[in-house]
Symmetry: C2
Subunit: 219 residues, 2 copies
Amino acid sequence: MVLTLYVDYVSQPARAVGILCKVTNTPFEEKTVSLVKGEHVQKPFSDVNPFKKIPAVKDGDLLILESCAAIRYLAAKYDGSGKWYPSDLAVRCKVDEYLDWQHANTRAHGVGIYFNKILLPAMKKTEPDMEVVSKHEKEMARVEEQFASYFLASKPFITGDSPTIADLVAAVELEQPKAAGYKLAKATEEFLARVRDEIGAELYDEMHGPVRALAKGGE
Amino acid sequence: MVLTLYVDYVSQPARAVGILCKVTNTPFEEKTVSLVKGEHVQKPFSDVNPFKKIPAVKDGDLLILESCAAIRYLAAKYDGSGKWYPSDLAVRCKVDEYLDWQHANTRAHGVGIYFNKILLPAMKKTEPDMEVVSKHEKEMARVEEQFASYFLASKPFITGDSPTIADLVAAVELEQPKAAGYKLAKATEEFLARVRDEIGAELYDEMHGPVRALAKGGE
């Protein structure tokens, strides 16, 4: 059974599945689908994922097109420690709660900042629409506040002393507006530092290299 | 241990958790939080859920503020049959894949239609902005097409012959634009009929009574 990840690590969810596989020593085949080159909207990838989004994950015959579903599955199947997606129902529920919440919160506004401040101006060769950017930045401040007060609530990680896939997904999404120059709150930065420590600084920085370079105008 | 659901069945995710508990004969205490009366943004409910959204679920000390996390948890804990959230990893992954996909698809555009066509005009005493409604209707047609071709792909339900929480969440969300007069595709209507049959027509229609009445201008 071959596990294949279709990824470009400038994408937050692609980083999340990639980091999970690396940190759990899960062997996988990596197929890079360049977002900058538009490979995600062309054949052969559009035959793999009709929704034309990355990451896509294939485990033998099983195709998974949603990153949170993929990361739950990969953790449940390949993480022998059980720590990344704990099987205790109440703990797992708190992991799921964050993964569901983040779609319209951390992700929506982190993407909103990065897309409108960096990607769209680069594609259109124009200045960013700062009114739109500022709307997302205001929402991002609210997201950070709720993340700290409700999800972390003084714990190091969402479910307690050990990080789970929820923290991993949170971290990769929070790094996106940061790469675009958004100033994260101190509590958020401290959370990111804890996740980086747990994953290992070398792997964490290597996986965030492409998005940081892209935000700076390199590739 | 008391299980409490804070609900108003005009809300799709509130219907999903309510139907799951009823269909699995899970005893619960029901606390109605009226959306029309704005009770979700006031005390005492805003002390239960700082995000001021329903449903909220409390199982003993465990508070769950996201409906998809709640429905996964309730099915895993209280459904003795195991059919609503199967434990087989590959099957469960397909349930999760739909639950993740629907946030920005079925839910976003179903809500878009219902909110802009029914709720906003009712609150503002104005005519609906049909340009906005029509944008969501166009996206809804795309959602229906992808739901049929990728998620159902000729199967009666998302994972095969038996419905899961993914089908339940899909059905309650698809009923929302339908209540607002959006004409669903034939394949979507046939899917809804299958879910209604499995849940039982009486319970299904009872739970959809409030949203249908609200859409018609009653309460």
